[in-house]
């Protein structure tokens, strides 16, 4: 790879002709304009939460205000209103954290386990099982929605977090990703060595394999947390008690709430979006790598 890079392309460092210069400037202008278009809504959100409600209502502006604290307390007070039946932004935040962390933990642990089984053992039906997993990836999940909803009704799973957490155990795309990673990075010899030392199979997986595939686990954990945090349809389907609401649901609730002021409302939106923005800010490279490896659909 390196060899071909060094041989290829004698980059011309000669001066640009006027046409080349102009076209280069145009390209930069396009890039910056698109970047501005992408960032504008996010910047406007951040500016909005610092402004007073009446200022926001009056129209869009880049003027930064001084009402950040007021909006935050306004949001907390509004959602603490006993009339609202127990809505609270802190509670919703906690609910979102509980759901995304537990579902992600189950997802990556059991996916790694399944991928490990496919990688290390030669069991009957292995070839079929592996093909089956790939087949499952392309099946749209929407087909099961009605059946899952009625099943949850029968089993009294409405207003619990079971419908979001337990199904995460079977995540074909995560298994596929882990399997690819194991193929490239994890040699069976490690397992044989552990066996020589008399380690139990289960302990071998936990102590030898899991630490080894940490990068893959981290990538998939990021995707799991992001998709679970942003999940809107699931909570809308299964949760009706306000104290169980997740953040996207709170946002939806506030949208239909005539009594909330605009400032606190935008603060609620910022609180919902901020954790993902922070994760992206620090870990964008891991996320992009995962995307290019086909981690996220």
């Amino acid at each position: 790879m390196n060899k071909s890079n060094s041989v290829s392309f004698k980059l011309r460092k000669t001066k640009l002709t006027p046409i080349q210069l102009i076209s280069k400037i145009i390209l930069y202008v396009i890039c910056i304009a698109v970047a501005f278009m992408v960032l504008l809504p996010i910047i406007s959100l951040i500016i909005s939460v610092t402004r007073e409600s009446s200022e926001i209502d009056a129209g869009f502006s880049f003027q930064i205000g001084t009402h950040f604290g007021d909006n935050l307390t306004g949001l907390i007070d509004h959602l603490h209103d006993p009339y609202e039946g127990g809505y609270s932004i802190a509670r919703a935040f906690l609910n979102s954290v509980i759901i995304s962390v537990s579902s992600t933990a189950l997802c990556i642990y059991f996916s790694a386990m399944t991928a490990y089984a496919c990688h290390v053992y030669d069991f009957k039906g292995k070839a079929f099982f592996e093909k089956f997993i790939i087949f499952l990836i392309i099946i749209p999940g929407q087909l099961g929605a009605v059946g899952f909803y009625t099943m949850a009704l029968k089993l009294n799973w409405m207003d619990t977090y079971i419908p979001f957490i337990l199904p995460a155990i079977a995540s074909p795309s995560t298994v596929f990703f882990m399997r690819q990673y194991l193929k490239q990075n994890f040699s069976r010899e490690y397992v044989d060595a552990a066996r020589m030392d008399g380690a139990n199979e289960f302990i071998t997986f936990n102590r030898i394999c899991l630490p080894f595939i940490k990068p893959a686990l981290a990538t998939m954990a990021l995707f799991g947390v992001i998709s679970s945090w942003n999940n809107f349809m699931g909570p809308m389907t299964f949760l009706s008690k306000p104290e169980l609401f997740t953040l996207p649901q709170i946002v939806n609730y506030m949208t239909n709430d005539a009594y909330i002021q605009t400032g606190p409302y935008y603060m609620g939106i910022l609180i919902t979006a901020l954790p993902m923005l922070l994760i992206y800010f620090f870990l964008s490279r891991v996320i992009m790598k995962g995307v290019s490896a086909g981690g996220l659909k």
Binding site: V7, V34, L45, F60, D122, Q142, V146, I169
Partner: protein
């Protein structure tokens, strides 16, 4: 051969552990995926509101659906919104992918642009919709000295729509076509960075020698793009097309939330019912809202399923066919060299 067998033998017993390791996956799959799927299909053939499958009424639910105007509306809507989002998305993604990988142009700040363009993809759809409402919002009216309305204050994107003559002199979120444009634009905004990263990976995967050979031949950048880059990326584009269609068919959050605001009784609501409903919203409402037509919802999801699955299978075969595309391009380049 014998040797390797003898070495593996002691571990043969251990292979049974594999079943234990894949058991959680299989159980969860059977219980949370397969059973619900089968039960959805069973519902689609059952009587209306029937939870027992004894009354097997075959295709009555499908008949109802095919005669339901709302279903067709949501079906067509899904495709209109998808097309309006996907075509610009793939063009923009391809443009930036080529720009950022091109070794002659050598853009500076590539990392920054990639970072920014991908950013919306991690945001919660629920929040995105509300931010965009501010962007597309029409503000207070502006009057001239005769107290005639000459325009409106509003968010920056509202002014863009007005400039293009698409605001219809009212809030863009309340009009059939403008609201579709808004939804498509939000989807574009969220997903073009993702497609761009996929394409960049694809272009980086093409061996440099191909470009080099073209460069030696003195091929123009346009020719390189249309005759080398694009054909080699064909499988990746197809992949991205099909995954986008499958994802697009399941479009829910953004249209649902955009519609959620049409609660103001003074505003005509037609934009909120027929122009933003997607198939998934149709299924969701049939399932969730009384009288809970599970049969209808099941039938609609079966139709959606057959549709997506046939597209996926088509992709599978096309990808298999196109596997050796790079070799073909090489042959083509050699032909040019001979001429």
């Amino acid at each position: 051969m014998f040797k390797s067998k003898r070495i593996r033998n002691p571990n043969e017993k251990l292979n049974k552990w594999a079943y234990l390791f894949i058991a959680p996956f299989i159980l969860a799959f059977l219980f949370f995926s397969l059973y619900p799927m089968i039960s959805s299909i069973a519902y689609s053939f059952a009587n209306e509101n029937e939870t027992v499958y004894e009354n097997f009424t075959t295709f009555s639910n499908y008949k109802i659906i095919f005669e339901d105007v709302n279903f067709w509306h949501s079906f067509i809507n899904t495709f209109i919104i998808f097309a309006m989002n996907f075509i610009p998305q793939i063009i923009a993604a391809m443009f930036f992918a080529v720009l950022f990988t091109n070794k002659r142009i050598r853009m500076k700040g590539k990392g920054f642009f990639k970072f920014v363009y991908f950013l919306p993809n991690v945001l919660t759809a629920a929040t995105v919709v509300i931010i965009f409402r501010l962007m597309f919002m029409r503000g207070a009216a502006i009057y001239d000295e005769n107290m005639q309305i000459i325009g409106y204050e509003g968010g920056p994107f509202y002014h863009v729509l007005r400039f293009l003559g698409m605001d219809m002199f009212t809030n863009p979120l309340y009009h059939t076509w403008t609201v579709r444009i808004v939804i498509a634009f939000i989807l574009f905004w969220m997903w073009f960075g993702n497609s761009m990263i996929v394409f960049i990976t694809g272009i980086n995967g093409i061996s440099d020698e191909v470009f080099e050979a073209a460069d030696v031949d003195g091929a123009s950048p346009w020719r390189v793009f249309f005759q080398i880059t694009l054909p080699i990326l064909k499988p990746i584009m197809l992949y991205s097309l099909i995954t986008s269609i499958i994802g697009g068919l399941q479009m829910f959050d953004i249209p649902y939330l955009i519609r959620g605001q049409n609660l103001d009784p003074s505003v005509p609501v037609f934009a909120g019912t027929s122009s933003t409903d997607t198939i998934t919203i149709y299924i969701y409402e049939k399932m969730k809202i009384a009288p809970h037509d599970y049969g209808i919802a099941g039938a609609a999801s079966v139709i959606l399923f057959i549709f997506s699955l046939s597209l996926s299978v088509a992709m599978y075969f096309v990808l298999f066919k196109e596997k050796n595309y790079e070799k073909k391009i090489w042959r083509r380049i050699k032909k040019y060299e001979q001429v």
